[in-house]
């Protein structure tokens, strides 16, 4: 009986997750054209898709963009999310309600968020330039476009980090905090010596999840810049999409997707380990 219950989720995982991943790996070693797309066995070309990608300057730009995008998202989503979680932990009227309200941002479709931020960042009619009194070309200047899409994605992802961290923060034993406070520890010391160690496992989990979610970001950037200008806001998922669907280089697209997969896989391993760690605690 146990085996039946085990077999169902295993079959689910193998068919719906294992197969696409393996299929993508297979494609990245094949010469896939429109003609060979419906077939399973296509000309085997070894690592040529990878060497072609690694031989192009744009690949490194995309990797660097991905690094900045994901890094920015992790740092700011965690910092802002944790600050908000701590803030809403102070009990004031409507704290819980307002915390819930924050999740609205996370529930909106990413394409809508992208469109709204495209308007906010518009040069002439945009709200951000109006407020700052500036005349910046946020989305059409290669030096700011990546930061603009990163900002939009941080706004999008922060509520999710906040909710996860809120749960962790509210689980910190109150007695410990009270005891520390009686011993004369101020709020900052209480945070550093009690709250932070107590939530470290959750923090690691949220960092892993944020990395995984940002590595998959597509819609927000697609709506705002389509990866431009001059690839300056193109990250791995957009790059893979473009190779496959604009240029019909399916093998190259699969290879680019595998770069992303390897990174996400490593992070996922760390995440799974951190959950195990949490249980032992």
């Amino acid at each position: 009986m146990v085996r039946v219950f085990l077999a169902l989720p295993m079959a689910f995982l193998l068919i719906l997750i294992g197969f696409p991943v393996l299929y993508n790996v297979l494609m990245s070693f094949q010469d896939v054209t429109l003609m060979t797309l419906p077939q399973f066995m296509r000309p085997w070309i070894g690592i040529s898709n990878y060497t072609t990608l690694l031989g192009e300057k744009v690949t490194y730009e995309v990797l660097a963009n991905t690094f900045v995008f994901v890094g920015g998202n992790v740092v700011f989503q965690i910092a802002i999310g944790l600050s908000l979680a701590l803030f809403f932990e102070l009990s004031f009227p409507g704290a819980k309600f307002m915390r819930g309200l924050f999740l609205v941002a996370w529930m909106l479709p990413p394409l809508v968020i992208g469109s709204v931020w495209k308007w906010l960042f518009a040069t002439e009619s945009g709200a951000i330039n109006a407020i700052l009194g500036s005349n910046m070309n946020w989305l059409s200047d290669p030096s700011t476009a990546l930061w603009a899409v990163t900002t939009a994605n941080i706004w999008f992802g922060t509520p999710f980090s906040m909710i996860l961290l809120s749960a962790a923060v509210s689980n910190v034993p109150k007695e410990l905090l009270e005891a520390a406070s009686l011993d004369g520890a101020g709020p900052i010391r209480r945070f550093i010596y009690i709250t932070l160690p107590a939530i470290s496992a959750s923090l690691l989990a949220v960092v892993s999840l944020t990395i995984i979610y940002s590595m998959r970001a597509f819609d927000v950037i697609w709506a705002m810049t389509k990866g431009g200008p001059v690839d300056s806001s193109t990250i791995l998922p957009l790059f893979s999409y473009r190779l496959s669907f604009d240029e019909f280089k399916f093998g190259g697209g699969a290879a680019a997707a595998n770069f992303a997969f390897i990174i996400v896989f490593i992070v996922a391993l760390i995440y799974v380990r951190s959950i195990k760690h949490e249980k032992i605690l």
């Binding site: 003609m35 990866g227 200008p229």
Partner: protein, 402 residues
């Protein structure tokens, strides 16, 4: 026994009746048109009234999603029965063996005749001497102007007929911080290439001669318009739809756009507007614009090609095509007089422009080459590279695409 016989007859009758009800062929039709007034909607409706046994079911796929969706369908082998494909994409799909060869069906058809079509659209339906598609309509780019603003500045519509005239008009019409002279789209998608090619052709260059002074002069115009503040730098991320919106909001006095925007402009533009043909380069005088719109195709592996072709025959027949102008589309067929119920001046302008509209390609690698052009445009307009350097790089990249 008799009772049994009656029962058997009755059962057979019911069975055959239900067979008839279920015998209908369902045609899975994909297209991208979400404008209510477009002929495609009424066309499908009236097609379904002809024969209850053949019913077309439309699925509207957003423009940017159509080709990825079709590729997914091809990869899984479960393809739609008829698809409206961007005319410039036909060769790539043909070379990929993804489209059915319609040559024999067209030869045996009394409804689809190559001679009836304008040469541009008909060429876009063929590859390597065979017919793979039937053009559904045609469109092209022209120049919309805000008549009130032109009058205010004393600029004549005729003067917009040359590059120099247009550029100086764009300068005169610009009010810093309030309004730009000219809006267009230089976005890093096919829309950007579609908008750039007319300039490239007007200068006397083409996709395979990007490293020439002629090509540089075309890109230089775009770079200067933005650098001098006569066009917004946001053209780099603006779709044609958004560029037209700035025109309607009077944030731009002129816009280069297509006839498909007429319904929206008429509804939302609160000023006198007009449309004229694109300018020519001074001293070169080559008229050119880019040919757009879609072709009907049948993907390889469609379950009933005969029924699909009947559908396409109907959708390209006079009954349907005569309504093309309702949503600002021109007929791809020369033998059909489109009903001009509205915008007669614009109709004349776009018809005139159509004479010099060129097709993109045909080239199975057009998509890849288009990407290279988009990159060069963006590199030059963000001043990451000079116009010459960007185009030299692009020419080298295009020479490598085989």
């Amino acid at each position: 026994m008799k009772r049994l016989l009656v029962a058997a007859v009755a059962a057979t009758a019911i069975a055959s009746a239900s067979v008839a009800a279920f015998a209908e062929t369902k045609l899975d039709v994909w297209h991208v048109i979400n404008i209510d007034k477009d002929m495609v909607h009424d066309g499908i409706k009236s097609f379904n009234e002809i024969d209850q046994n053949v019913q077309a079911e439309e699925r509207i796929v957003p423009f940017a999603q159509l080709e990825p969706e079709l590729l997914k369908a091809i990869a899984t082998g479960d393809v739609p029965d008829a698809v409206m494909l961007a005319s410039n994409s036909v060769p790539a799909f043909v070379v990929g063996n993804a489209l059915m060869d319609l040559t024999e069906m067209v030869a045996g058809s009394d409804k689809v005749n190559g001679e009836d079509y304008h040469p541009g659209p008909w060429n876009s339906a063929q590859w390597d001497g065979k017919v793979y598609a039937v053009p559904r309509a045609a469109n092209t780019l022209a120049l919309y102007y805000n008549k009130d603003l032109l009058d205010e500045k004393g600029i004549s519509v005729e003067s917009l007929g040359t590059w120099d005239g247009l550029i100086s008009a764009a300068e005169a019409l610009t009010v810093p911080g309030e309004r730009f002279g000219l809006a267009f789209s230089a976005i890093a998608t096919e829309e950007g290439t579609f908008q750039f090619l007319p300039w490239l052709w007007q200068a006397g260059a083409d996709i395979d001669t990007l490293d020439t002074p002629e090509a540089a002069s075309a890109l230089q115009v775009w770079v200067d318009l933005v650098k001098n503040g006569h066009s917004s730098k946001d053209v780099l991320t603006m779709r044609q739809f958004e560029g037209t919106s700035t025109f309607m909001a009077e944030n731009a006095a002129l816009v280069i756009s297509g006839p498909w925007e007429l319904p929206r402009i008429e509804k939302d533009a609160k000023f006198n507007w007009g449309v004229r043909t694109l300018p020519v380069k001074d001293g070169v005088n080559i008229e050119a614009s880019a040919l757009g719109d879609y072709n009907w195709v049948i993907p390889t592996g469609a379950k009933d090609p005969g029924a699909s072709f009947k559908f396409i025959e109907y959708m390209t027949s006079e009954d349907v095509v005569k309504n093309a102008w309702d949503s600002g589309r021109l007929s791809a067929r020369a033998d059909i007089d489109v009903l001009v119920n509205q915008w007669p001046d614009a109709f004349a302008t776009f018809n005139e422009q159509m004479k010099s509209a060129r097709q993109r390609g045909p080239d199975p690698k057009y998509g890849e080459k288009s990407r290279v052009i988009q990159k060069a445009i963006q590199q030059a307009m963000t001043e990451e590279l000079t116009v010459e350097a960007a185009l030299t790089e692009a020419a080298a990249a295009i020479a490598k695409i085989k």
